[in-house]
């Protein structure tokens, strides 16, 4: 019990010194809990939405996905004949049934041809207004659509785009463009996370979305009183036979949930990963805090040992303090996590994803996970310093020196660190030499982990060398103050090492990713320059297919030499070795594609693959299945019939763009797939007549003005877009890494603040013999800068090594160019110096304010 009491007293006596460690725990726990609360809230929102929108039993066409998502390659939703409705009504236990038409492969524009689709990536849904919809939508102004001229829009979209009754709306589908005027605005009765929804009357919807009358995408069935959904499903299935999908409300909701779960899980685990990095960094901070507290308390602990405390008791007393710290930090962290989640929801709201705080979901597991994680990490981190405290001999009580300088990092540490770093380096070498991506990435992972741990272990030793070099370069010009700053940074290499290592982790990741990112851009640019012959690329940034009307608009645009259509579909391949490969991707393009993209072949000529009943395969496929030029492959096209295609070209596996594609001509595809089942173009390429590039570009842009969902880019635009895309991704990752870097900066502040406390007498002495406040503050700032630069140097070096290795490895996948983004690297290095200055602000200020006499008198 006395152990508990002394620990409690110590904890509260030093709460100021614990504050930064508590904040580190708080931040990490908050990030974990925030992520969990946020994703749980999203789940709840979607759960409610799907539960509310699903009818008791839904019947949909065979081709529809499990969740009833209505997209197909031909750009039209899979439909069933209207007669199904009558059959469903005959089934037992049906109270009512109605036919519905919906499509998500649509684009909706306003009168100015501006895209009204959500920018968040949420779907745009156009459908027929019906009773099932009326359950979740309340008409707030105007009326539901009654004829072909009318359309109703959801209130969120109307708000966002400032739409009013009577405004003109265009619905662009594979059928064509249908225009109507807004007749009503309807609001959701549940939270809609961001989809834009438009309603036509059912007849108009059939025409505008499918181009046929008397078809439905779904039939919504309501159960009579006392009939369960499962029973109803059985009855309906029995009535319809197996020709259609029949799903209960729960099954539909689950399938919908599964669709969003994929995206949410990626987000959740990515964010938890970054929280994990922050925890890792926090560990260094906690280790430093407890090491310094133990060092400062050496005499006290020696006294405890002298009067009979066992090692175990001393050890435990430190761990109990860590436990208290962990509990305090985690409890606050859980609270902050909920706040963070609300903040994230607001942020998502700004980006177009509406979430309501009414749905805020804090599962009981969230605080438990937060607390357990926070406490365990804190106690584990304090374990080493606690053990060191236990080893303090009773003699320490008698020794004069309050805090003996930490022993120099021993040779065991040096040996372990060198072995780890060496092994890590070797693994990285193997990764860069690997000729199989899978094996190489294993080596890469191992190399990264080992070299990181190696650097952490060896850090205190490196601190000596690196700080001396930095000192010689930077600090000497500041005379004795610089020299003292250097000596102070060197006096406890373990502490400097740990503080720098914390910063190193975050910056290593930044450096690594920036190298990979910029190599990616450089490699892609290089490949584009080398292989792409076409002038313009037309595509949708939301991977929507290109409607025939839009393709026609491109084709009729002036100044173009040729236009290449590019379609992707799937087929079951039966190869000469007798194997059948289900759902294999095959690309159908116009013969001009062979000049638009120069693809190397190992056998045959690619243009020949576009001849009638011909195709190309890629090198690996050919090798795996014993295919040679002239081999015949039976290709059973999806939605079409089977064809015997002759292999006339084998493409090299060194191809980067469109790697692994197998080509045939659109003409061949058209022979076996009926016109109404033909997949829409996923890409369209256009090449200008010689010297008419600028004119062609302008006319293409105006040709596509009515189709804002498609973007035309010339090669320069394309490269810029690629760069932007990767840049955005990197920025997002940097943003998430900022958490780890903030914790590391707290670590620098912590180390300096505790050092200042530890060196109170020294500071008093220096002030007494004439060191001015300014000089004192400068000395502390410079120590801080040196520590920060030490961490930055290690981190950037390590990260660039990782990045270069990753590039070597990814060269197998076509990332052949190594590009080190020096401006970023140097920028990060210089920023680190400022981080050091910033971290020293408060410790330096407090040191300057110390009363000289009290400082000298401090024990």
């Amino acid at each position: 019990m006395t152990v508990m009491k002394t620990s409690m007293r110590n904890f509260f006596a030093h709460k100021g010194r614990m504050a930064l460690s508590a904040i580190a725990v708080l931040l990490s726990v908050a990030f974990v809990c925030g992520t969990l609360v946020f994703t749980d809230t999203m789940s709840t929102t979607f759960d409610k939405l799907f539960a509310a929108t699903s009818s008791d039993v839904t019947v949909s066409a065979k081709g529809a996905s499990d969740s009833g998502e209505t997209t197909a390659d031909n750009g039209k939703p899979p439909v069933m004949p209207a007669s199904v409705l009558g059959e469903v009504r005959k089934a037992q236990g049906v109270k009512s049934a109605e036919g519905a038409v919906f499509s998500t492969s649509v684009t909706v524009v306003d009168a100015g041809k501006d895209n009204l689709s959500p920018s968040s990536g949420a779907p745009t849904i156009v459908g027929g207004w019906n009773a099932n919809e009326a359950r979740t939508m309340k008409i707030t102004s105007g009326a539901a659509p009654k004829d072909a001229d009318q359309i109703m829009v959801d209130a969120d979209t109307a708000d966002k785009h400032d739409l009013k009754l009577g405004d003109e709306i265009g619905v662009i589908s594979a059928v064509g463009t249908h225009t109507a005027k807004i007749s009503g605005i309807a609001d959701f009765t549940v939270t809609n996370p961001g989809a834009a929804i438009f309603y036509l009357d059912t007849k108009t919807a059939q025409q505008a979305l499918v181009g046929e009358s008397d078809v439905y995408t779904n039939v919504n069935v309501t159960a009579a009183a006392g009939v369960s959904d499962a029973q109803l499903k059985k009855n309906v299935t029995a009535e319809l036979g197996g020709a259609f999908q029949v799903k209960t409300a729960k099954e539909t909701a689950d399938a919908n949930q599964k669709d969003v779960a994929g995206f949410m899980n990626v987000m959740k685990y990515a964010m938890l990963g970054f929280a994990g990095i922050a925890f890792l960094v926090g560990i260094f901070l906690i280790i430093n805090t407890f090491s310094m507290l133990v060092a400062q308390r050496t005499r006290e602990i020696g006294l405890m040992r002298a009067i009979g405390s066992s090692r175990k008791q001393v050890n435990r007393s430190v761990l109990v303090e860590a436990l208290l710290l962990g509990v305090v930090g985690s409890v606050l962290g859980v609270g902050a996590g909920v706040g963070l989640a609300i903040g994230l929801m607001k942020l998502m709201g700004q980006m177009g994803m509406e979430l309501s705080t009414d749905d805020l979901t804090v599962a009981w597991t969230t605080p438990v996970v937060g607390l357990v994680l926070g406490v365990i990490v804190t106690v584990l981190a304090a374990y080493l310093p606690a053990r060191r405290a236990g080893k303090i001999s009773p003699m320490a009580a008698l020794r004069d020196a309050g805090a003996p300088a930490d022993a120099k990092a021993g040779w065991i540490r040096a040996a372990i660190g060198t072995v780890l770093t060496g092994t890590g380096g070797f693994a990285l070498y193997l990764a860069s030499e690997a000729d199989k991506a899978k094996e190489g990435s294993l080596w890469l992972g191992l190399g990264i982990v080992l070299s990181l741990i190696g650097f952490v272990v060896i850090g205190p030793l490196l601190a000596g060398a690196v700080v001396r070099v930095l000192g010689a370069v930077l600090l000497r010009m500041f005379g004795p103050v610089g020299r003292m700053a250097e000596r102070n940074a060197l006096r406890n290499p373990r502490r400097t090492g740990a503080t720098g290592a914390a910063l190193m982790i975050g910056l290593a990741l930044v450096a690594c990713l920036s190298v990979v990112g910029s190599s990616m851009v450089a490699s892609a640019t290089d490949q584009l320059d080398k292989t792409v012959g076409t002038d313009f690329i037309i595509q949708s940034d939301r991977s929507q297919l290109i409607t025939p009307q839009a393709v026609q608009a491109v084709k009729s645009s002036p100044d173009l030499a040729h236009v290449t259509e590019y379609k992707s579909t799937q087929a079951d391949f039966t190869t000469p070795d007798g194997k059948t490969l289900k759902d294999t991707a095959i690309t159908a393009a116009d013969p001009t594609y062979a000049t638009d993209l120069s693809t190397e072949t190992v056998a045959g000529k690619l243009p020949d693959a576009y001849k009638a009943d011909s195709m190309s395969v890629h090198e690996k496929f050919a090798k795996d299945h014993g295919i040679r030029l002239g081999s015949k492959i039976k290709v059973a096209f999806k939605d079409g019939s089977a064809a015997d295609l002759t292999v006339r070209a084998i493409t090299s596996s060194d191809v980067v763009i469109d790697a692994g594609s197998m080509y045939t001509s659109i003409a061949t595809l058209a022979k076996y797939v009926p016109a109404d089942k033909m997949p829409l173009d996923s890409l369209v390429f256009a090449s200008a007549e010689d010297g008419r590039q600028d004119a062609a570009y302008t006319s293409l842009k105006s040709a596509l003005h009515d189709y804002p969902q498609y973007i035309v880019r010339d090669q320069t635009d394309y490269k810029d877009a690629l760069k932007d895309q990767i840049g955005q991704l990197l920025n997002m990752i940097y943003g998430l890494l900022a958490l780890a870097i903030i914790v590391a900066i707290l670590g620098v502040v912590n180390t300096l603040a505790l050092s200042v406390v530890e060196r109170t007498r020294e500071i008093g002495l220096m002030r007494a013999i004439g060191l001015s406040r300014r000089q004192l503050r400068r000395m502390i700032r410079m120590e801080s800068v040196v520590i920060a630069l030490f961490g930055a140097l290690l981190g950037l070096g390590l990260g660039m090594g990782w990045g270069a290795t990753a590039q070597q490895l990814l060269a197998l996948e076509g990332m052949g160019v190594l590009d080190i983004p020096w401006p970023t690297i140097i920028g990060v290095f210089i920023s680190s110096a400022f981080v050091g200055l910033f971290a020293a602000l408060i410790p330096a200020f407090r040191a300057g304010r110390m009363n000289v006499l009290n400082a000298i008198a401090t024990e």
Partner: protein, 262 residues
């Protein structure tokens, strides 16, 4: 007797005054109202240039406070303190710091040296901070005087307590301050090492013309001084010239007895 102003303002040492530092009606009080404690009660004192002055008194007599105030380490509640002709009471921290750096030397009881610097770096530290080049000849002489020539590259932890104090003395002397203040500089040393350090202080007064003020409670240490001031309850109660250890001890006993009877 609250005054120890017995020395003429101008002595025979050329243009400079014979008084290195003086205090006039210095009051130092802590707290206010009921809890007010007066540490110095209207003290007048002159510190003679080129002399070794010891300040003695029982614990709580205010002797350390007086030294701290004279040295510009502590602020006073009332009265004036002059260093040579400069009034230091009322100076801002910046000027006080510079004054300590350029014109005053310190020797504390313990923890005099920066552990990160070696002996010679510690000795030249005040000049380094000021950005001044040390006078090579003088430095050599000081180092030889304190007998540290072969220990200059040692870190403080590699030196004995006596050696550490000698480094501190050398540091105080090296910058040629107008006045050196010692706060029980031998308090932590055994008698032999203490005698060594005191011997150096004495010699620096005799041979180098240094002015030294030292707070002590050790009659033997006080006997090295030219003049001893006795403090009790924040006032100067007595002084003695050319003291011997016995005479100081007797006088101390005297005070003790008086303190008990009153």
């Amino acid at each position: 007797m609250t005054s120890a102003v017995t020395i003429p303002r101008h002595g025979g040492t050329g243009g400079r005054t014979a008084v290195a530092a003086r205090a006039r009606q210095v009051v130092k009080a802590y707290g206010s109202g009921e809890t007010r404690v007066v540490a110095l009660d209207h003290v007048d004192v002159d510190i003679a240039r080129g002399q070794f002055t010891a300040i003695m008194g029982p614990s709580g007599s205010g002797k350390s406070t007086l030294m701290h105030c004279l040295a510009g380490l502590d602020t006073v509640t009332g009265g004036q303190i002059y260093l040579d002709e400069t009034e230091i009471t009322g100076l801002k921290d910046k000027k006080l710091t510079r004054l300590r750096r350029d014109r005053i030397g310190f020797i504390f009881q313990a923890f005099n040296l920066l552990p990160t610097l070696n002996a010679i770096e510690n000795i030249t530290l005040p000049m380094d901070i000021a950005g001044r080049k040390p006078d090579k000849q003088w430095l050599t002489r000081v180092v030889e005087t304190v007998g540290l020539a072969d220990r200059l590259k040692h870190r403080p932890t590699q030196l004995s307590g006596g050696q550490q104090q000698r480094v501190a003395v050398a540091r105080a002397l090296a910058a040629r301050p107008e006045i050196i203040f010692g706060d029980e500089p031998t308090g932590n040393l055994d008698s032999r090492a203490g005698a060594e350090v005191l011997g150096f202080l004495r010699r620096s007064v005799d041979e180098l013309g240094q002015t030294i003020v030292m707070v002590t409670h050790d009659p033997v240490a006080a006997s090295y001084a030219d003049r001893v001031l006795y403090l009790a309850d924040g006032r100067i109660v007595d002084e003695m010239y050319k003291p011997t250890a016995e005479a100081v001890l007797d006088r101390m006993k005297d005070f003790d007895a008086r303190g008990r009877t009153s």
